[in-house]
Symmetry: C2
Subunit: 147 residues, 2 copies
Amino acid sequence: MTAGNTIDREIEARLGEAGVRYTRARRAVVGALSRADGPRSASELHQDMEQDVPLSSLYRSLSVLDEAGVLEPHNSLKGLTRYELAEWLAGHHHHLVCLICGTVEDIELSADMEARLEHLVETVTDEFSFAASGHTLEVHGRCARCV
Amino acid sequence: MTAGNTIDREIEARLGEAGVRYTRARRAVVGALSRADGPRSASELHQDMEQDVPLSSLYRSLSVLDEAGVLEPHNSLKGLTRYELAEWLAGHHHHLVCLICGTVEDIELSADMEARLEHLVETVTDEFSFAASGHTLEVHGRCARCV
DNA sequence: TCGAAACTGAGAATCATTATCAAGATAACA
DNA sequence: TGTTATCTTGATAATGATTCTCAGTTTCGA
């Protein structure tokens, strides 16, 4: 996939600006996340990549990538933090959150709905003294696997 | 406030169905939460109620109330779980999430916007095999205190 | 008033995450 | 091409939130 390479180049550039390297471990994390269909926690990634990268390094990779703006953290069930590629890499989307098993699936909204949300967020910015930088609609319920 | 009493009666009834009592500690938790303007974590509540209830009991109260459907958990920054009164008690609302300090403020949407969201959620239910039970719009950014 | 069931508090145990630190890779450059 | 400054890594210890355990206490109904 050329898309993968493009993303890799963009990330490499971004990390360069941040003064850090795009190492094997970090590439592996990005790879696993771009293969995933939703946010993943450190331990989920650890399994996905078959213990290739030790947990402690994995956590460090995640926080480096997060600080560089390559990833976005997503706080989920049971005090777990799951990460996904940032919107500028993966596109804007929303979440289906399973209240039973905690997994999160990405979904996209219609352009119409998305436009309305954007407008709403602007309104909020004015109404409350809150500097909005983004938004996510979370739909809660039971996923297919949790019947 | 009569509202408080009404809520208390409703909660008492609900807990009765669940076969648990509405004890002093649990009342204190509900009181602190209904005074708050957004979700609160166990340790925040512990401070709010001036160590009146020991942390271990507080956690237990939270999980009992959660299981009985009186509270709703909200996963926030740094693996913290914050709770708030469930929607059937506190009304439906959305969140302003500060990415810096992690505090969450409740907001309400216009009826128009809310109707659109509801409609959207129904669409999602059909399109994906996902049994939606609720939704929240999270607006991310910096709160007034974090300039 | 007695006993079963529910509750409480203190402390130990768990789990995710972060910090530490010595050893290993890399890049720039003399 | 060796040298050095810097960035990384991996193992391990430490932290912080949350859950578990268990003995003692309270509460409700018979």
